[in-house]
Assembly symmetry: C2
């Protein structure tokens, strides 16, 4: 099975765990035993591979997520990079061409498109495989998955099928309705539109050429920023006549807010936290190294990260976005392809950062115009290259780098550094990359 996972943008609604450089799908929150946790994207990827070990997975996403994807899934996963955000139709067109032109998959093969962040079980991925098989048969151009509604939700679009058969033609799409209208739809056998569908690659590439003027993958990639934003439903699905839907009645949750996310959590406390016995329905997700003590609370979510602390009534938590937009905040934590960093102290003319490099990884060879840096190795070993000079390093070593000096570090084992940046104009933009 070929599968394209659409990986969306920065999820402020799960602040403080998500931020401009870390989206919700990368938060490690689902227990996998031994007090270790996996993220949504890791969970989904693992589930796909468990159902179909030979599945070819491609993630369609923006450049900012590439580091986190490699960090969490390794380098075997395909990534179709969107040079900028242009909504789902351009993203799906580009990813489809990436499959044929870059991965050389036969245009006659089918592909399933699916969001990267549903909270589901294995039966969902078995259903995706069925969807792919249905697309192979070619009885329709598009084969959607329709999710059996569990309540008359106002949050989802609805698909109206021609019959109650497991697989049926689609008669209509409906926008997010009111509760009463949703009840009506459900009585008619309507299904939630979870943004999941299968098609033959040649079909989508044909649609792309119909709607966009381009030659091949590279050309589409190059002119991507000139494309207009348009959703796949609007551009393709709603206009297609040869379209069918397959009913899915397994477990499906959309973990977009703290409220729904905590519903999916198997443990009330992730990280250091204590709930006293007068707490009920309280969840703690704590990424800090200090404990959270919660007393006498009900229906509250508490989350702490290097970015900040949220304490919210669960219902209220869905209204978080404008407040987070209002926060002016340095990025305090980020996952990179080579590891991660965390800001641990900020002063007027200095910033102190903990840097963790994964074994075998290295930073870019780079320099800064306006700041000096000091590295103190606190764990592991590796080597530095400073203005071309190689040097082995291990815990206790100190490396000083004046502004302008080119530097990188290569980890042999997991390597941790305290990096102290010194200068009056410290910004993330003050970085020049060099060829080693």
């Amino acid at each position: 099975m070929n599968i394209i996972l659409l990986s969306g943008g920065s999820g402020k609604r799960l602040w403080p765990l998500s931020n401009d450089v870390r989206s919700k799908q990368f938060i490690k929150i689902f227990p996998k035993g031994d007090r270790t946790y996996e993220s949504m994207v890791q969970r989904v990827y693992r589930q796909i591979k468990e159902v179909d070990a030979s599945a070819k997975v491609t993630i369609a996403t923006s450049k900012t997520q590439v580091s986190a994807i490699h960090n969490q899934l390794g380098t075997n996963v395909g990534i179709s990079i969107e040079p900028c955000r242009r909504d789902t139709f351009p993203a799906i067109a580009l990813a489809s061409l990436y499959l044929t032109d870059e991965l050389h998959i036969d245009p006659g093969e089918s592909v399933v498109v699916c969001p990267v962040d549903p909270y589901v079980e294995k039966d969902y991925f078995k259903a995706l495989k069925e969807l792919s098989d249905l697309a192979d048969k070619g009885e329709a151009n598009l084969t959607l998955m329709g999710i059996e509604p569990t309540y008359p939700s106002e949050k989802y679009g609805y698909i109206i099928p021609q019959s109650m058969d497991r697989v049926s033609k689609v008669t209509q799409f409906k926008e997010k309705p009111t509760v009463d209208v949703a009840k009506d739809y459900i009585d008619q056998g309507a299904l939630w539109n979870g943004g999941v569908f299968a098609y033959k690659l040649e079909y989508m590439i044909g649609k792309a050429h119909e709607l966009i003027d381009f030659t091949d993958y590279k050309d589409l990639f190059a002119k991507y920023d000139t494309l207009k934003k348009i959703s796949f439903d609007y551009a393709v699905a709603e206009k297609e006549n040869l379209i069918q839907v397959m009913r899915f009645d397994g477990k499906w949750k959309d973990l977009g807010t703290w409220n729904t996310l905590t519903e999916a959590m198997e443990e009330n406390v992730v990280g250091k936290g204590i709930l006293n016995d007068t707490c009920s329905d309280v969840h703690i997700v704590n990424e800090l190294n200090v404990p959270i003590l919660a007393m006498g609370l009900k229906d509250v979510v508490i989350s702490a990260s290097p970015e900040g602390i949220l304490v919210s009534d669960k219902e209220q938590s869905s209204y978080i976005k404008p407040y987070v937009d209002g926060l002016e905040q340095e990025i305090m934590f980020a996952e990179k392809s080579w590891g991660s960093y965390e800001v641990i102290n900020i002063e007027k003319e200095s910033m102190t950062i903990k840097v963790t490099l994964n074994p075998g990884h290295s930073m870019n060879y780079h320099s800064h115009r306006n700041r000096n840096e000091v590295w103190v190795v606190i764990e592991g070993c590796g080597k530095t290259i400073i203005d071309g000079m190689e040097q082995n390093i291990s815990a206790g070593d100190v490396i000083t780098m004046a502004a302008g000096c080119k530097h990188t570090v290569i980890a042999d084992s997991e390597l941790k550094l305290i990096e102290i940046q010194l200068g009056s104009e410290i910004t993330v933009d003050d970085k020049e990359k060099h060829v080693l």
Copy 2:
């Protein structure tokens, strides 16, 4: 006026702001304009000086608080150090002898004893002055302040006066009663016992010699750990016949729990914090550098410090102690006589600390047996002495110290360092002091 302020022990009930080395009276929480805040002890000291600029203030406390007192009040304040905790009678006896033997105050003078942490206004300190004047008159051996009850509290002891006169003889002391009994007392004109009283020094020194076998201040200090724990009320007040009480009906609050502390706060948010419009009666006290966002909460206190995060229903917050006792936690923040430190990162074999030295101050000259250290100066200037060698330092300088190496740093201006400790056995006890 001579005044002895009794400064109690570690206040776990205001965790995470108080800890084993910082008591509640040192938390800077009361606004004094310009976004700066003062602690309880600073507030009380300022109020005393505003009422009586020539007041001689002595703080009776344990050794662990000396640094914080000097840091917050400077060095003009007298400190009677209790070598260990032995309850109020030994503490008051020792402090009284400190006044006569060390500060050479005439034993015929009066002194007022008062806890260091009442939340009061200037009229309270004017009343203390009256108390002192009453003691001067010598009509009674002990002159108490009785606080007019505002409700039938179960939390306080009661003083039963002979009459409703402003100053009256005391007929009886009563232990913490039930609400019904308290109502009875109040109907009889009873007053709360706030632990405030005045006496002539010679009276208390006489009592001390009566009850303890010692010669002078130095001798009492030396044998302090052999004294038995006994409260002043039990040892002296309840047995004294020549005892009077002065009614006080001004503002008086005992800020022992988060519940009462937040009642006294003029602002709902101290530090970085946002309350959305569905919050009511929510207080945030945030000592961290990242924001706290509170949504949809009612009657909740949120407090964050380098020690941890508390989120509690206000009523529930008075039951905090056992939970805090259960936390195994490094001391993450402390005020010292020379400035302060904050732990900013802990790994298996390293600890990173931000050290701030006040201008003109220095650490002890010391060494460590089992750890190497690296200092990176991030702000200010001064000098280091490393194994006897002096060196000027300023922002950007790096100093490495192997285990065993003797070192100190002296601040010319406010000086900030990042200190990285490296070793497999890092403990606060691994410290040897040396003479410079």
